[in-house]
């Protein structure tokens, strides 16, 4: 996987999470505020109703009489429908009825009312001061001389409302209740909202993660398949189930391109194979004519040389054709692959034995250090790899130099074959292109010694077809070492 924060999945997830947080907290806040408002309004309305009811219950003892200051017999009847609310054992609601001089006419026996300071009429002004504690909500009404006639209400404590000038109120009725119930309900609601928010958030993010995973999975499938195809398995295709999605479309477009690519590869390989086959007969004509002519013992020296050149050119052509065919076959991948367990040391030994005469002829020493190792592959192709490498080494070094061939276990899962020489080495600019087709490190020698310029390219193709690797290290003047790693 690429850098975490560059990954599409992570980016999608980050946006998704951010969005979820904003939406959930917004929704939570709005619903909390809305519900709180509603609950408070309900409380206010209840109190209002209670206040109106109580205020209408303020009466003088004498029916129809005026309420007088310091009249002790002020009655406050609690209407029936409010009895429950202001019952003595109700700890949440309370009421006061207070004379203007501060004497309490009546009050409920709720403990809340006990603790409450008596509302104070600020004499000479139109202000009433009620000091309550924070958790209460009170409504105050004040009444002037006449009973059941209220001048107005004070909605919030310690706030005043003007009376009519000259008409001082005589009595105040105050109702209140504790907000404890409401607040605890609001707390419950708040924690419910918070918990469900967290749950929804967790579900949302994990579902989002799964979905984005699924989407990314398809991309992963595509890129894995594309990687393997790029690595050389041209028969592979992207296998995507939901072909109707955008990614499915992408996959099928890619598959089509791969098909076309493979077709053109196959056509190219087929062309090379056909061309090589077609070249065989004319090459054979030239070769056999030259060989036939060379059998004639009465041939002049000049003609003999000419025919020898023809013969060697035809032999070279033959080798070129064979090499091209090997490459075409490996390229097309159509050849039925031979894969058997074989002893790499024996294969290398055989190849070296075949080239021993050539080495002796040139005066080159060939040393081998072959440890018994097994590989799975096509023995004749592997023999060709060794032969090509050793042949190259013999060709390019001086008679006094030597070639060392070794086969050994590299690690538990791989074996290594090296062909090293102490010859002139390969210049650095030639190294990267050494395995290219028709590339010759020494251009001046092109075409000589039957070199086709395909030997190393063939080695590479064969080694790669065996899931192996071939590499070279060399320094000018210090020889060259070719290493072939093959899976054991």
């Amino acid at each position: 996987m690429t850098n975490l924060f560059q990954s599409i999945r992570w980016r999608l997830q980050a946006w998704h999470t951010l969005l979820l947080v904003v939406v959930l907290s917004g929704f939570g806040a709005v619903s909390y505020l809305f519900l709180r408002n509603n609950l408070y309004n309900e409380v206010e309305e209840e109190l209002q109703r209670g206040l109106s009811a109580l205020a209408s219950g303020v009466k003088s003892e004498k029916p129809g009489g005026e309420i007088r200051l310091s009249e002790p017999a002020l009655l406050l009847r609690v209407p029936r429908d409010q009895e429950q609310r202001f019952a003595p054992d109700n700890e949440h609601s309370f009421y006061f009825a207070v004379w203007i001089d501060g004497q309490i006419a009546r009050k409920s026996s709720s403990p809340l009312a006990e603790d409450l300071p008596v509302p104070q009429w600020k004499s000479g002004t139109d202000r009433i001061t009620v000091r309550t504690r924070g958790k209460l909500r009170e409504h105050i009404a004040f009444s002037s001389g006449r009973a059941n006639k209220l001048f107005g209400e004070l909605k919030s404590p310690s706030a005043g409302k003007g009376t009519r000038p000259g008409e001082l109120p005589r009595a105040i009725v105050l109702v209140g209740c504790s907000l404890e119930n409401v607040d605890s309900e609001l707390r419950k609601l708040g924690s419910l909202l918070a918990v469900s928010g967290v749950v929804i958030f967790a579900m949302g993010t994990s579902i989002g993660w799964l979905f984005s995973g699924q989407a990314i999975n398809s991309i992963g499938t595509i890129s894995d398949a594309a990687k393997e195809i790029a690595a050389g398995d041209s028969s592979l295709r992207i296998d995507l189930q939901d072909t109707d999605s955008e990614l499915g479309e992408l996959a099928s477009v890619l598959n089509e391109s791969f098909d076309r690519l493979r077709d053109s590869q196959a056509r190219q390989a087929q062309f090379t194979a056909d061309a090589s086959h077609e070249l065989r007969t004319p090459a054979f004509v030239v070769l056999s004519q030259a060989q036939l002519a060379l059998r004639n013992k009465e041939l002049s020296e000049e003609n003999r040389e000419a025919f020898q050149v023809c013969e060697s050119a035809a032999v070279q052509m033959k080798e070129l054709i064979e090499s091209l065919l090997v490459l075409a076959r490996q390229d097309s991948g159509a050849q039925s692959e031979v894969r058997e367990t074989c002893q790499l040391d024996k294969i290398a030994g055989e190849a070296v034995d075949l080239l021993q005469p050539l080495a002796s002829k040139k005066g080159v020493t060939v040393r081998t250090e072959l440890k018994p190792v097994e590989v799975t592959g096509d023995p004749s192709l592997l023999r060709q790899v060794v032969a090509n490498l050793v042949n190259n080494a013999i060709e390019y070094i001086k008679p006094s130099d030597e070639v060392r061939i070794s086969v050994d276990q590299d690690s538990e899962s791989s074996v290594v074959l090296t062909v090293a020489d102490n010859g002139p080495g390969i210049s650095p600019e030639n190294l990267p292109r050494l395995f290219d087709r028709f590339y010759r490190a020494d251009q001046s020698r092109s075409g000589q010694n039957g070199h086709t310029g395909l030997g190393l390219a063939i080695c590479k193709v064969i080694v790669e077809a065996h899931q192996g690797e071939i590499s070279v290290s060399s320094e000018l003047g210090n020889g060259a070492t070719f290493s072939v790693n093959l899976p054991a």
């Binding site: 086959h277 077609e278 007969t281 004319p282 054979f284 004509v285 070769l287 056999s288 054709i321």
Partner: protein, 216 residues
């Protein structure tokens, strides 16, 4: 030894025919499969060299037609060298398989080997008394000394030596030592026999009137 060469490439056909004749073989040629099959069925060749890709009947079909009635050794010479092609060739009755281009010497050696195998004479050197007939080197030695023979003379002595102890009729000799272009002068064989007796001694080849010739 008489060989049929079936090959559609005219240059290759003439070159190979010339080369084979140089080796002392009588060579008939066909430049297409139909002619090739006709000739192959008509005459008892010692070996047939058969191309695969040809106009008309291809090599496989010629081989198939031939094998219905004849055991003539067949060497397939083809530009197709994939292993499945070789297997198909050998499985459909070919005795050997060679890919173009090959070295002429190898081709000739394989032809010699095929002929030896077919006449149950796996040793390339045949010893008759003090005479050694080297069928690989195409040379005859008497008491270690080489006796120079013409190609036809060698072919005759080789043919008889390979069928040692059998009497070979004049007709058979004509059929196997002369090709379709040779004039079949009736006394030609007598001339060869006469020359051979002169060079290798009169004891070597025996004649039985009305039956034929034999090397004991």
């Amino acid at each position: 030894m008489r060989i049929l060469l079936v090959e559609d490439e005219p240059n290759l056909l003439t070159t190979l025919a010339r080369g084979l004749r140089g080796e002392g073989y009588a060579v008939d040629t066909a430049d297409n499969g139909d002619d090739g099959l006709m000739k192959a069925l008509d005459t008892d060749y010692d070996t047939i060299i058969l191309d695969v890709l040809m106009p008309g009947l291809d090599g496989w079909q010629v081989l198939e037609g031939l094998r219905k009635s004849k055991k003539t050794p067949v060497l397939m010479l083809t530009a197709r060298d994939a292993i499945p092609d070789r297997i198909r060739g050998l499985d459909s009755g070919a005795d050997d398989y060679l890919t173009k281009p090959c070295h002429l010497d190898e081709l000739f050696a394989r032809v010699r080997a095929l002929i030896r195998r077919h006449s149950d004479q796996p040793n390339p050197q045949i010893n008759v008394g003090d005479i050694v007939i080297d069928t690989a080197a195409l040379k005859v030695f008497q008491s270690g000394k080489e006796i120079v023979l013409t190609a036809r003379e060698f072919a005759l002595v080789e043919y008889l030596a390979m069928r040692r102890g059998q009497f070979v009729s004049r007709t058979t000799l004509y059929e196997h030592l002369l090709d379709e272009e040779d004039s079949t002068a009736s006394n030609l064989m007598d001339v060869y026999i006469y020359n051979l007796r002169k060079k290798l001694g009169s004891e070597l080849i025996q004649t039985r009137r009305g039956v034929g010739y034999c090397i004991e």
